[in-house]
Symmetry: C2
Subunit: 660 residues, 2 copies
């Protein structure tokens, strides 16, 4: 085993709490930790799942080929686990989306949508016969599917999709067409060259009439040769900021015929068109995906903060005092300010995601029995949590990357790829601004009619928060009360501005649009009260943890609260009775908390217990051998495998000699 860096050894001795206790708490129990370790061992210690050359040195095409190789091995191993009775939802979640997945396939998995979208859609939207026909093939992976909805010209607004599926009663077939360039399917993962089947969402036409969008099962490629079927125009969409192994594809149809029975029929009977009993049911899936994204936010944040915190303890730079040795950069307060708030934030995300997950499970139970009352509240909350979580996560990862200076810019730090994954979340599964406006729409509705508000746990604070007006005290409870007042005041003001504009003669939709900057801000503020509330409740409800751990969690809770409050200074001064002196007190409290967390910083990130293979970072490894690892990584560059590159003879030498 490699020698551990001296600075890290010292840091670990300073830690005031038992890191294993925190690890188990975060995993949900010691048995869960062990289960995770065993899963990590099963995948990460398999030499077949390692790459000979780091992906970043390969061509785009080679990256894809390596990703297919690994994906097939991964899926085979998942099947092994299932056959051994060890396959639970955690396996899919972890391997396809979580830390494990991104450890093995740093730049994405081209087959993910098979499990994440193809199979769930057949289960959710197929009728009994269809499930019988398709589920066995899909579940055993004798076919590989993806989910094609988004088009080149149409994202968020799915009613605008242009792909058509026209029923031909003579042959009992649907004829698929892409009437325009903008109607080409664009973005689905694995669509380019990997999947041979897809769920395709298209406008259904029968008897000359459009019946809106519906999902169809469509074969894309021949099962033997993998050649695209006749009438199918297909390929990949090209390079992206990140996720370059996901093989995102495009798809166009030219009079492509599929059997009538390929229209997913759970909500359609006997060929005559029946509207789905509640289109709200599909909200369920959207909420589920957003819960997963908030969990991913927590996990990317933990990864990035582990890397940056360990690096900051190992890196020495500059002089704090004349003629003293260069200090660890973690001792600069400005550096602590870049690191510790994100440690705290990762807890806030994790706890909110858990809360949402529990509620989601309750509500889906209710959904199946037809109760839909709680859905709008849950949907509004999931929208803003996804938006705020992903935005804060991306900004946080980037702050942490920049906090590592030049070395953070290197691929070997793994911070650039982590950012690539994190920032993508801001756009997919609902663009953040669009989502915040959805939350705002709910909040304005509630604000205008508070009748049932006491039955709605996430918004009931709005009932009287406008009048909280608590004088400053150094407590999380004061901050929460102030934030709630801010959220209420912002909703109230936005509502007033909409009404003002309507009174001035504007259409409600125009008034809404003109007020939308404030509406977004109101939804954001609402979300932040929720995040703090849940963090606070969670920490206060822990019963059987040691006082040492409780103290650390309380520090983090307070840091999260103070950091949020300081970022919202303008709102506090404007909408609550906070005064300048209170802001000064908050700033001092912040500085106090940074100092308090300083000795435990390494201990806390150690507790996240992220394996080196998952961190994938020369800067963040447990042993802290930053420079040795950076140097070793550089040696893997194929350019370094020969002393003189051929471009010297081809271009440089003729140029230099010509100038003699």
């Amino acid at each position: 085993m490699a020698k551990i860096n001296e600075d890290l050894l010292k840091e670990r001795k300073k830690c005031s709490f038992n890191t294993a206790e925190l690890t188990h708490l975060l995993d949900g129990g010691k048995d869960k930790t062990l289960e995770r370790h065993s899963r990590e061992h099963f995948f990460l210690d398999d030499p077949e799942l390692r790459s000979k050359i780091p992906l970043e040195y390969l061509s785009h095409k080679e990256k894809y080929e390596e990703a297919v190789r690994k994906s097939c091995i991964l899926f085979r191993k998942v099947q092994e686990l299932q056959e051994a009775g060890k396959g639970g939802i955690e396996n899919f979640r972890e391997i396809l989306g979580g830390q494990l997945g991104s450890a093995i396939l740093k730049d994405g998995n081209p087959l993910t949508l098979h499990y994440v979208m193809f199979i769930p859609t057949i289960t959710g939207q197929g009728d009994f016969e269809q499930q019988a026909e398709w589920m066995h093939k899909a579940w055993t992976c004798s076919i590989i599917g993806t989910y094609a909805q988004t088009e080149l010209g149409h994202g968020t607004f799915i009613r605008g999709l242009e792909t058509t599926a026209t029923y031909d009663p003579k042959t009992e077939e649907f004829v698929l067409n892409s009437p325009t360039l903008t109607s080409y399917k664009w973005w689905p993962g694995g669509l380019g060259h990997s999947a041979n089947f897809a769920i395709v969402v298209a406008q259904l036409y029968t008897q000359g009439k459009c019946h809106g969008i519906h999902p169809f099962i469509v074969q894309l490629r021949d099962e033997e040769t993998h050649m695209p079927m006749k009438g199918i125009k297909i390929g990949e969409i090209g390079c992206k900021l990140g996720m370059n192994s996901t093989n995102n594809g495009y798809l166009g149809f030219e009079n492509y015929r599929i059997p009538r029975t390929n229209l997913l029929m759970k909500n359609n009977k006997d060929g005559t068109y029946v509207k789905s009993p509640s289109s709200k049911l599909t909200y369920g899936t959207m909420i589920f995906v957003r819960v997963v994204l908030v969990q991913d936010c927590a996990s990317y944040m933990k990864k990035a903060v582990t890397i940056a915190t360990r690096y900051s303890a190992v890196r020495h730079q500059s002089e704090m005092k004349p003629n003293c040795p260069e200090p660890q950069i973690i001792d600069y307060v400005t550096q602590q300010y870049k690191l510790f708030p994100y440690i705290a934030m990762s807890f806030a995300f994790q706890y909110s995601a858990s809360w949402l997950w529990d509620i989601y499970n309750n509500v889906t139970g209710e959904l199946e029995s037809g109760q839909l009352e709680n859905l709008p509240e849950l949907h509004a909350l999931a929208c803003c949590l996804k938006a705020v979580g992903t935005a804060d996560c991306a900004a946080g990862v980037e702050t942490l990357r920049l906090a590592c200076g030049g070395h953070g810019y290197m691929t070997a730090s793994n911070l650039p790829s982590t950012y690539g994954l994190a920032t993508a979340m801001c756009t997919y599964e609902g663009e953040n601004t669009v989502l915040l406006l959805q939350t705002a729409r709910y909040l304005i509705k509630i604000w205008q009619n508070k009748k049932n508000i006491q039955n709605l746990p996430t918004v009931r604070y709005l009932d009287n928060a406008l009048f909280n007006n608590r004088s400053y005290e150094k407590s999380v409870s004061w901050i929460l009360s102030a934030l709630q007042q801010v959220a209420a005041a912002k909703i109230d003001l936005a509502n007033k501005h909409i009404n003002d504009r309507v009174r001035q003669g504007k259409a409600y939709e125009d008034a809404w649009n003109e007020t939308s900057i404030e509406l977004v801000a109101a939804a954001d503020a609402h979300c932040r009260t929720f995040l703090l509330d849940i963090f606070n409740l969670t920490v206060n409800n822990f019963q059987s943890i040691s006082p040492e751990l409780k103290a650390v969690l309380t520090d983090l809770l307070e840091l999260y609260a103070v950091h949020t409050a300081i970022r919202m200074t303008g709102d506090l001064l404007r909408f609550t009775n906070t005064i300048g002196k209170d802001v000064e007190a908050l700033q001092l409290w912040l500085e106090e908390l940074l100092a308090k967390i300083r000795p435990n910083a390494i201990g806390i990130v150690d507790s996240f217990d992220i394996r080196d293979e998952v961190l994938g970072s020369a800067l963040g490894a447990y042993d802290g051998n930053v420079y040795e690892r950076l140097f070793a990584e550089a040696q893997k560059s194929p350019l370094n495998h020969e002393p003189v590159n051929k471009s010297f003879g081809l271009y440089l030498k003729p140029f230099l000699k010509n100038n003699l």
Copy 2:
């Protein structure tokens, strides 16, 4: 010529001013515009300078080889221009760093440092004989050099460098050594496999005594074979977030001997060591580089905002009103809020950079005649402008990228690479937090002794800004006065907190460190007053421009002012007599300005007059054929050149068939 998108045609008709007038104003006159066009034609219309396959599809090694090919052609063309008497500093600036450079070599140029650092250092630090020996070779490119200062373990703090150059009087040589792994040179562009010479900065030892860091000319590779010299350990540092063609390298020495005369001698006579008359002279170069960076900020911002604004005029999405067609996304106020402030900001950067450039030229004249009084002020300003400019630029480019939704994530948008270049500026040439603290140190010094403050144009407002207290009025002048009061109050408060801590018995350095979050914020606020001040002065001083253009520039100035003020709401409420009602008025003013700029948005970005090759973006081209271009770009992917990738036969088919 391609058909122009209908939406853009309509937008261009709406424009209220003459776009050519603004283009000429921005270029500095019609003749400068023509000069730029001719330079663009000379480089961009050369078919040799195009790549057959977009760089992003190549392997890391192939990217490098293609970059060397292009760099050699570029340099040859620069020589052509020089020989024709058309070589001015603009050519170097534009081709090596500016928009032209990044159009031809999107991912960086491996030979840049030859002109940017190697030649200037010999000129600045070499004595007469050394210039005679080296300048001809360097200037004619019969050798290619780089500049090796930063080490694996040492960045900002150059006194901490570890590489040693020990004088051996017997042979009259210096012996270079890398005593530790952290002493390896790390980062210099072109060092990996391109340059055959370098300026190396090392600790000079004679007679057992260290005399601090000095620059040496060092041969790295054989001029004929390009093989590394014996005693030289050299290679590239590996992949990065961006700039993957710059061939950043590492370099270690093992008893590598160079002649005594390779120590750059301008400040050393006859082998006996003489300390440089003013180490402040080197500040000149640092200031120069930072001016260039602020100009680059303006130019990246213009590029990104042109792309995002045009795309927003072409893209239609969602429903604003029921049963109406999908609106252009530029009509959503939240979208305008993501775009227009960055249009305005690009002007603010450009004007501040011009101001700084003029002053720099004045001051360097003074420097050469030994006057150094204005240097600290200028240095403090350059530090904060670089920090605030690059941070705002990177954040702006990223906001603009996200404003383009999924398509902004595609390499074909050119926004990811632009971000890669922009964010790198936050770290190199002085890490931003370090720079803001340098500005803060100057501000605190001035604050403690205001004796000469009236002679210092960038800080004299501090003399009485603490008491501005102007009641709100809807004017740029009010905002400026309020921002100045904020800056003064923040400096005052930080100063007070340092003093408080010293009084509590802390060492000054510790007190400084503990107050550093506030110090950074104070320097940031100071910088923002400067940016607004110069923008305001510049627009008000334009004499001979048309009233239509003046109106547009005034809208942009006001938007910049209001946007800055709203971002600093907390500070305004805390430190000035702004009240809640005033913030509401600012918000309304902001919304009014967005609406006013809306019809001119396309006209303004058209005036930036950035060629399609420079934009390099499927989303931003002048003709607005966004979807056709995205589709055409995708066809360039080598993966799309064959219907079935070999990974099907190798991995996927065996996996699928095994599951039948």
